[in-house]
Structure formats: C-alpha cells, structure tokens
Symmetry: C2
Subunit: 348 residues, 2 copies
DNA sequence: CTGAAAGCGCTTACAG
DNA sequence: CTGAAAGCGCTTACAG
C-alpha cells in the first residue's frame, strides 16, 4: 500500500498501476518536471540541452516507453494512420500498403488497414469506425467516393492523401499517375505494332479501370479507328480464370480482333495461359497487353507486355506527404504525378 | 484561474473539449450516471432493462461513439489485435490476414499488422512496439522464435494464438496443420505415380519449409528410397523466376530426376513456365508438385498438382479462439488441426 | 442493480 | 526555457 505523503499509517490507496514505467518516474529520476520530459522526448519546443540529455538518459535507463493511449487521449490525436484500400486480394494494393507501412512505421506511426471491397457503404462504415480512433492521418484509394464518405473525411479535419490517381482537386492532396494517359499509351503501342482491331477488356469496374478505357478510346480515335472502339466490360471481380474466359469470348464474338488490352495483369495472365491451352498463337493470332506489371507477368509464355505502375513509389511518397501534413509542414507539390512505363515484352 | 467550487461568476474554463459526444453527455441525457452508461453499452454486469434501453436510446440519439483511447487508458487494454506475419509479398499470409481481419473487425477489434521479414530481430522490435499499444490479443506466425521474442509475449500476459503449425506446446494455443504430414502426403502422391527420383526444392527456408522437407524425407524412407533423398535448399526469397532457375539446376545437376516437390506454388508455377520455355515435358519428363494452392495454380499449363492449405479457415478459427481468450472464456480445443488436401491436377 | 470518487498516463493552455 | 494545474474520456475498485 503506497503512501502519497510521508505520514506513517498511510490509508490504503486503490492500486491501479499497470506496471509500466511512466513519464512521472522518468521526471523524478531526471530531477525535472513531467512536462519537461514530455517536451524533451518529443523534441518539441526548446529544452535546455543539458536537461534534454538528462531526460533521455533517465528514459533509457528506466526503459521508458510512452503510452500511445494516454498520448492520444491527452492530445486528441493518435499515432495511427488509416489506409483504405479496395481489396487485399489485389497484389497492387498489398504492395502499396507495404510501401506505406515501411515508410510510416519507422517514424512512429501505426498503420490501420481498412478494406472497402469497392463498396461505398463499406467505405463509409470503415471511415466512421476509424475516425473514432482519431487517426493522425488518412490515405485513401482514388478520388471517387460517396458524398457521405467525402464529408466524413472533410469534416474530420484529419489530413488525407489520395492515391493511385492524380487530379488537381482544389485543396486536395494526391499521389499517383494518369490512368487515362497510361491506357492511351499502351493502346498506342498496340497500334504502333500495326494492330487495328484492338479490344479493351475489363473487369471489376472501378473508376481507374474505366479511365484506362477512356485512354484506350482516345488512342483509337486519334488513330482514326473510332468505328473500331470495342470495350468488353465485366462487373465480376478480376481473376486469371476470368481472363481466360474473356479471351475466348472476344475471339468468338469479335473474330477479327487482333489485339486485346486487358485492364489488369491478372486477366492478361489468365488469357495467355488460356491461349496456350486453346492453341491460340500470341502475338501471332492476337496480341495481348496487360496493366500494372504484377509478379509473374515477366515469366509468362510469351512474356506479357504491360504498363508498369509505380505503386511502391506512390506508397512511399504518399507517406512522406502525409507526414508533412500531420506535422503541419508545407507540401510544395500537393498533386504528385509519378508516371508509368510501357513495358514491351513478347506478347504484344 | 479556475475555481474548484461553485462561486457564481465562474471564471472562464480552459476549453479543451474535442467536440465529440462523451459518455457524460449520454448519461445526462438518459438521466443516469456515467458508469451505468458504460456498463449498459458494454453489456457488462446487469443493468436494469429499462435503464439499459434509455441509455441506448440516448446514445443513438446523440450519435455517441466511444473513445478507444480513453477506453484503453482506463482499462489498460486496447481494442487492437496485433498480427505478426513474415511477409506481405506472400499471398498465403495476405489471405490469412484478410480472414483474421474479416472475423475481428465486426467484433469491434482493430487489426495491427506487423511484418517481420523472417527476421528474429525485426520480430522482437515489432513486438516491443506493439506491446506498448497494450493490444488485447496477439496472433503470430509459427512457433519458432527467439527466446527474447517468446519472453516478450509471455511476459506481456497478452493472449496469443500461434498460426500455421500445430503442436501441443503446454499452455499454448495454435491453429494450423501439420506441415510435415502435408510434405509426406504430397511426396507419397508422387511416389504413387511411380516416380522414384523425387527431389525436394525449397527457398526461403523458414521452419515450415524445413518441416515439409522432413515429411518428404519420411515418405522417401518409407518407400525404401532413403538413398534417393535429395533436397535442394536455397536461402533466397521465393519467386517464380527462382522456381524456373531451380528447375533448370535440378535437371542439369541430377538428370535422372523424374519428379520435383517444390515447397511453394510460386516456385512451382515458375518451374512450369520455365519448362514450357525450355521444352521440358511436364509431367512426361518430370512431374511437378507445389504447395499451398495459390491463385493461378489451377490455371497453369499443365495445371499444378499441389497441397491446398486452409489459411482462411486458420485465420477465422484463430480469430475465434483469440476472442474467447480475450473475453476470458474457456477454449475447448487449444491446438486446432485444420488439415490439408492433396489436389491432384495434371502436372503430377 | 447503481453510483461517487479516483485514477489511467499523458499533453494543453497559461503563467512566469 | 520551465512548471503547477487541469483535463482528455473513459473504467476500476469500493460501497451500498
């Protein structure tokens, strides 16, 4: 029974100590006040170098670890950064997440993952629950969301960076690349290879997929092929098996097709394997191009021509930008375009 | 200068309100004390049905959302569950994570992801930082870790479930399957197909990979082929490209090889594609088997024979078990073996 | 079954 | 540059 004063028969106090070393103990050991410890450890405001040293020494000696919950409660801001992605089954988003995490964790932030399943309602629910945790920052996929979700973000006042697309939304922050330009570029590559009957095949019709389709149409029109614009859009989730099925469908429904631009590499990989099974020569009979340059695309037979997208760099840069926002530092380039790269391999 | 008594001309109070609806406001609205609200909302201890209803009505009307930070501070237990996995680049772990998350989020828990990169030091560091967040629970991959890491878990008193392997460690909790039995089963399948020169090829030599190798050796010995036990172990990270390279190496170094058991489907998929490029007939010249049944294995040419592992069920069951532990409920089966399935396809 | 008091471990807002 | 006081929003531990 610890006593708060030094009177001998101290009354029994309600003990609720958690056993962890507290700021107060560090302060006592260093011979300063708790606030000074708080400031010295956070490196905030000027603290006399000498005191600063003493505090750090005491903290290290005692093995002090700040309590995130206490911090969050007192400052009304946690060390969490919530990251919203559509799906964990798409390698693209996992790599993005990995990059964000790798950048944020060493800086003392914890990543909270929210999976929205491409669903506006789920996104709202996830956002609502995350916002209750008073995150220090937010990273969300894309610019397109329900008004309610947008209002939640806006109203929370939590710094937010949008990833995967670029767009100069006033006051907004984003890191990505132009999906439309990328769709145009890979289509142009197919046209440059003297293909004329190019079909765009897409699944999981999110806004980015549709933008790539716009780019495809741009390129077709620019080549005078406006009459040949042909999009096969499937709302199903993307998969290799679906890619194979869609290849078959295109070849039977539009037999004169001589090139296909798949909106994602998993579809394209599936198409390549189906072509192998069916004896369809690629690129002889039909050229195939994908998007994203996912793992395995370089191993396909033939190797898949695709667009390499910088999701790791996007994750890193978004994390850097967000850290500046969270610290109240200025961001010189609020809409960062990281570009893309057409990767010419054997399939197209 | 705030007054602690009720003297009329109240001095301006230091405002630090965060704008959120608090428990106290709900209590006032419902005409009960804050503790009653707390109890009614958590469903803990008996609260008169009538009061309970009034509280819920008031909470809903005001749009009350409990503050996780305040909760964590007061109860010294957060709503976080930390999940430690080796790598995000392995689909296996992402699916595990997805399943855990899907089970835990609806119950009000937040998942914190820790990536250890198969490194004991990183695991310790991640554990240390997570434990500071006072997680309600822990899910870790495998049973094998540094004594320091094990001590951190043990000493924290945080409920912990080990996944992917099974083993009756006294007092421990686990959900998984026998990696060794699975390795034995797929090898036996190859032997049943009249293969005799079966080689085990592995990369990213974690404990589970090595156990599969033990199972392989078991089966070889049981078939009287102890002289033919041949393992090619590469410490490199697993990838499709590596699988192709290892296939070439095996065929040139051990030309009489008639079957290969790859420790993971990504290696096996890469090997299958390399075989296609090299003109090596599968299964004619060499049979190929993988492990895990990852996405795409069923699409390969030929389709990959492999072992389907129940990582989603493992994730779900681990989450269920952990929730029981976190609530102090009894767990009837502390070491859950979910088994595996040999999937016979065309490659072996 | 209900509540008044204290406290979790920090930081904010003032003051000097 | 440093600190005493108050408070963030909950829950624990007692008491009735």
């Amino acid at each position: 029974m610890p006593s708060s004063t030094s009177n001998p028969p101290a009354p029994a106090r309600r003990a609720r100590a958690t056993g962890r070393v507290t700021l107060a103990e560090v302060a006592q050991a260093a011979g300063v006040s708790p606030i000074t410890v708080s400031r010295a450890l956070r490196g905030e405001r000027a603290v006399a170098p000498e005191l600063c040293e003493r505090v750090h020494a005491a903290a290290t000696a005692l093995g002090y670890v700040p309590d995130p919950a206490a911090r969050a409660l007192a400052s009304s801001r946690s060390s969490h950064v919530a990251v919203l992605i559509p799906k964990l089954s798409n390698t693209l988003f996992v790599e993005l997440l990995d990059a964000v995490q790798t950048s944020l964790v060493p800086a003392g932030y914890q990543t909270l993952i929210g999976v929205t399943h491409y669903d506006a309602g789920e996104e709202e629910a996830v956002l609502r629950s995350f916002l209750a945790h008073r995150p220090a920052g937010l990273i969300v996929t894309g610019r397109d969301r329900s008004p309610a979700a947008a209002a939640l973000i806006e109203g929370s006042g939590v710094p937010c960076v949008h990833v995967m697309e670029v767009g100069a939304e006033p006051g907004g922050h984003s890191v990505g690349f132009s999906q439309r330009d990328a769709g145009r570029a890979i289509t142009r590559h197919l046209l440059d290879g003297d293909r004329r009957h190019v079909v765009y095949v897409a699944a999981q019709l999110d806004p980015r997929t549709l933008e790539r389709g716009e780019g495809y149409a741009d390129a077709m029109v620019a080549a005078g092929l406006q009459d040949r614009v042909h999009k096969l859009l499937s709302p199903e989730p993307s998969s290799m098996a679906l890619g194979g099925a869609l290849l078959e469908r295109v070849l039977s429904e539009v037999p004169d097709t001589d090139a296909i631009f798949f909106c994602n590499d998993d579809l394209a990989q599936g198409a390549l394997l189906a072509a192998l099974r069916l004896g369809v020569a690629v690129p002889g009979r039909v050229a195939v191009a994908g998007f994203n340059d996912l793992p395995g695309s370089d191993q396909m037979v033939p190797a898949l021509t695709t667009v390499a997208t910088p999701r790791r760099e996007i994750g890193e840069q978004a994390a850097q930008m967000l850290m500046k926002l969270m610290r109240g530092q200025p961001v010189e380039q609020p809409n960062l375009d990281l570009g893309f790269q057409v990767v010419r391999r054997a399939s197209a």
